[in-house]
């Protein structure tokens, strides 16, 4: 089941401008779409940093940023400006090529993953027929960036951080892949909009009862690990490694790594919401009859993503960090076998069609 005739506002824009102005219009449309995504990237990144700091502050009996602008919302913008104006300062013993490509790889991986995420009805740059697969493939490129950064910095702490990151991301991608596969068995498609459409009657987290819940928990654990956040923040591990793989970066180089981490968190949350909680679908279709459907879709999508992200922040500010061997034990001895069994279970459930639906 591949949806081909759904609305896509970005696609409409491209064909509209191409019709009016020919090839020039098409290029203009691409530029506009790219600008929209870059703008979203920057705003979402800065907003998430602000939210993270506020949430952390509330967990830690603090106030957080509250001076620049109302409730301190411009604090992260001020910080970004500071980072922009900073000198790019690093070691002179770096491996120049790897050192400088590292943060571009990280940020490109995060940006490209965004393009297939359905923010609302028809608000999606590319509705690829292999959308989920595309995300997991592209997000693996980010690992390369971190590995390059760790190696290219020519710093032992960075190297340990980079190597840890490679180990961790490659391991946990298996688990998140299996969790995604479990849901794909239910959906019968890899296309993001198709997956959402298949949940119109019941969200997959309910439809696939126990296996879906297991897949969800595995996905949350693996997703947290893939975004390098506590309890899986070993690549940075500030108590052990200083700042890990980005010790030797300053200014915007550091900011790119930092922003990419937050965007990755958003992507994990968005994929989780799309796979398990019906993406932009309203719960029980309560807003389906109202006008401005794409707007309502976006409202529900961002609401769900916000809850998901809040949970990830909650983990970060309450859990201690795992050790590297415990991290690998958790993945290879527990999550992976459970994930494999879970797929079989889900296949049986789908085959005999014992699904819950309202």
């Amino acid at each position: 089941m591949i949806l081909t005739n759904t609305t896509n506002y970005f696609g409409d824009l491209v064909s509209f401008l191409a019709e009016k102005m020919g090839i020039g219009g098409q290029i203009l449309a691409y530029v506009i779409v790219a600008a929209v995504y870059l703008g979203f990237f920057a705003i979402a990144g800065l907003l998430l940093v602000y939210i993270e700091r506020r949430v952390a502050a509330f967990f830690q009996l603090r106030l957080g940023p509250n001076r620049v602008g109302p409730h301190g919302i411009f604090q992260t913008i001020a910080d970004a400006l500071k980072l922009l104006s900073k000198e790019i300062f690093g070691t002179n013993r770096k491996d120049n090529l790897l050192y400088t490509t590292a943060y571009y790889l990280v940020i490109i991986a995060a940006l490209v993953s965004l393009s297939v995420i359905p923010f609302s009805i028809g608000v999606q740059a590319y509705d690829l027929n292999i959308g989920v697969f595309f995300i997991s493939a592209v997000s693996s490129v980010g690992v390369l960036g971190i590995l390059f950064g760790g190696w290219g910095s020519n710093n032992k702490y960075s190297l340990i951080g980079g190597m840890r990151s490679g180990l961790q991301m490659i391991s946990y991608e298996l688990s998140s892949g299996l969790a995604i596969l479990t849901i794909i068995l239910l959906a019968g498609t890899l296309q993001m909009s198709g997956i959402i459409e298949a949940q119109r009657d019941t969200w997959f987290i309910l439809k696939g009862h126990i296996p879906a819940w297991i897949a969800f928990f595995i996905f949350v654990i693996a997703g947290t690990a893939e975004s390098n956040r506590t309890p899986f923040d070993l690549p940075e591990g500030e108590a052990e490694l200083g700042a890990g793989y980005h010790s030797e970066y300053s200014g915007m180089g550091f900011a790119y790594f930092f922003l990419a981490e937050f965007i990755n968190m958003f992507i994990i949350a968005a994929v989780g919401v799309t796979l398990f909680f019906g993406g932009w679908l309203a719960p029980f279709g309560i807003t389906d009859t109202l006008p401005w459907q794409p707007l309502w879709g976006a409202v529900w999508f961002f609401l769900k993503v916000a809850v998901f992200i809040f949970f990830m922040m909650w983990f970060r500010w309450t859990f201690p960090r795992l050790r590297i061997d415990q991290l690998l034990t958790l993945e290879w001895k527990y999550l992976l076998p459970i994930g494999l069994l879970n797929i079989v279970l889900m296949a049986v459930i789908v085959y005999y069609n014992v699904l819950i639906s309202f």
Partner: protein, 376 residues
């Protein structure tokens, strides 16, 4: 096309040196460890000291006895009051003066408050070292209450210099008893919450249990003391072995916390339980502070009789000794401080080997170093 064959015999893994410190977040100051690493496994640890050496012992030889006390603040700054007390006790012992009981009680209460403050700070940093950043803020909130109590009475929050030979500098602030009584139930109510936040956490338990085991024999042979030794089952509390101040003057009931596992978790539990014991001690003293003055009669210029004098006290980190050799002049001939941190560092060299670097950080945290105490 040329085929590349890989001879696995040519592949060598190489040990490398890793400089941990002097500027490193986990060394809590300027401790420098030269680590020999194999991948992430620590093969050898070589502490390199001297980055914060201020020749305190040598300085003492040029200062009068009243002034020495102020230098000891800067050694183990987290138990500064107990350091002061140790020097004051040593001088009083040499002069054979009996201080008023009020002074003894005040010193003990202050000492136990200092111990709690030190352990609270340790707890916060302990959480940070294993990656749980929130503990830091919670611990500092409660430690702040102690600092406020200290500030009211002695005017300083950290380096108090409150004890003088023969007494204490000022009388207690009128609010003192009230605020200490407010603090005791507060800490009793938050420690279970701390346990929920960190101690009970499954990741934390896994990180702590069975890691960095210091055996009973090793603890003794390395001269470990304080919570580190008590975590290995060595009974070494100076408050019980040779009581001083109110521990001698009053009949105070408290338990020496002993664990026999010797691992990180044991050391952790010793400190957590010690905080509650310290509260018990304060509770037994706070209601009946006698009113017989805050200063015994001493001369303006103290001269110790010829001889050698030793005073041992229990600081938050362990057994602190003050050894004064006097030749009868107004300043000592030689002063030697036996600092608990230095001996506990020996234990690190023993138990840190063979662990991962993340565990080394956790072990260092449970050994609870204060680097100026090691270097002096």
């Amino acid at each position: 096309m040329k085929t590349v064959t890989l001879n696995t015999g040519d592949l060598k893994s190489q040990e490398y040196f890793l400089n941990m410190g002097p500027q490193h977040p986990a060394t809590h100051g300027v401790l420098r460890l030269i680590l020999t690493m194999d991948g992430e496994i620590v093969k050898n640890i070589e502490p390199d000291l001297g980055y914060i050496h201020r020749s305190i012992e040598k300085q003492c030889e040029y200062e009068g006895y009243k002034q020495i006390i102020h230098l000891t603040d800067r050694m183990d700054y987290l138990s500064s009051h107990i350091n002061n007390e140790a020097v004051a006790l040593a001088i009083e012992q040499a002069l054979e003066i009996e201080v008023p009981e009020r002074v003894k009680v005040i010193r003990t209460i202050m000492g136990e408050l200092t111990r709690i403050a030190s352990h609270l700070l340790w707890w916060g940093v302990m959480g940070m070292d294993v990656g749980a950043l929130t503990t830091f803020m919670y611990a500092f909130r409660d430690r702040e209450m102690i600092n406020d109590i200290m500030e009211e009475t002695c005017g300083a929050r950290l380096t108090m210099s409150y004890s003088t030979p023969g007494g204490v500098m000022f009388d207690l602030h009128p609010n003192f008893q009230k605020r200490v009584k407010e603090f005791i139930p507060h800490l009793r109510s938050v420690i279970p919450k701390y346990d929920e936040l960190l101690t009970g956490n499954v990741i934390f338990q896994k990180r702590m249990k069975g890691v960095g085991v210091l055996s009973y024999e090793d603890a003794i042979s390395h001269g470990a003391s304080g919570p580190v030794a008590r975590g290995s089952g060595v009974s070494c509390d100076r408050r019980i072995k040779d009581p001083y101040s109110a521990f001698k003057a009053r009949d105070i009931k408290f338990n020496e916390i002993l664990f026999t596992e010797g691992d990180n978790l044991a050391r952790y539990n010793v400190r957590m339980k010690e905080m509650l014991e310290s509260l018990n001690i304060i509770e037994q003293l706070i209601d009946n502070i006698p009113d017989d003055g805050i200063q015994a009669k001493t001369k303006a210029l103290i001269k110790l009789p010829k001889g050698e004098f030793l005073q041992r006290v229990e600081t938050a980190r362990g057994d602190m000794g003050v050894y004064i050799v006097s030749d009868g002049k107004k300043n000592p001939y030689r002063v030697k401080f036996r600092s608990p941190g230095f001996s506990n560092l020996n234990a690190l060299i023993e138990i840190g080997k063979g662990h991962l670097i993340a565990d080394l950080v956790a072990i260092m945290s449970t050994l609870d170093f204060v680097v100026p105490d090691i270097d002096r």
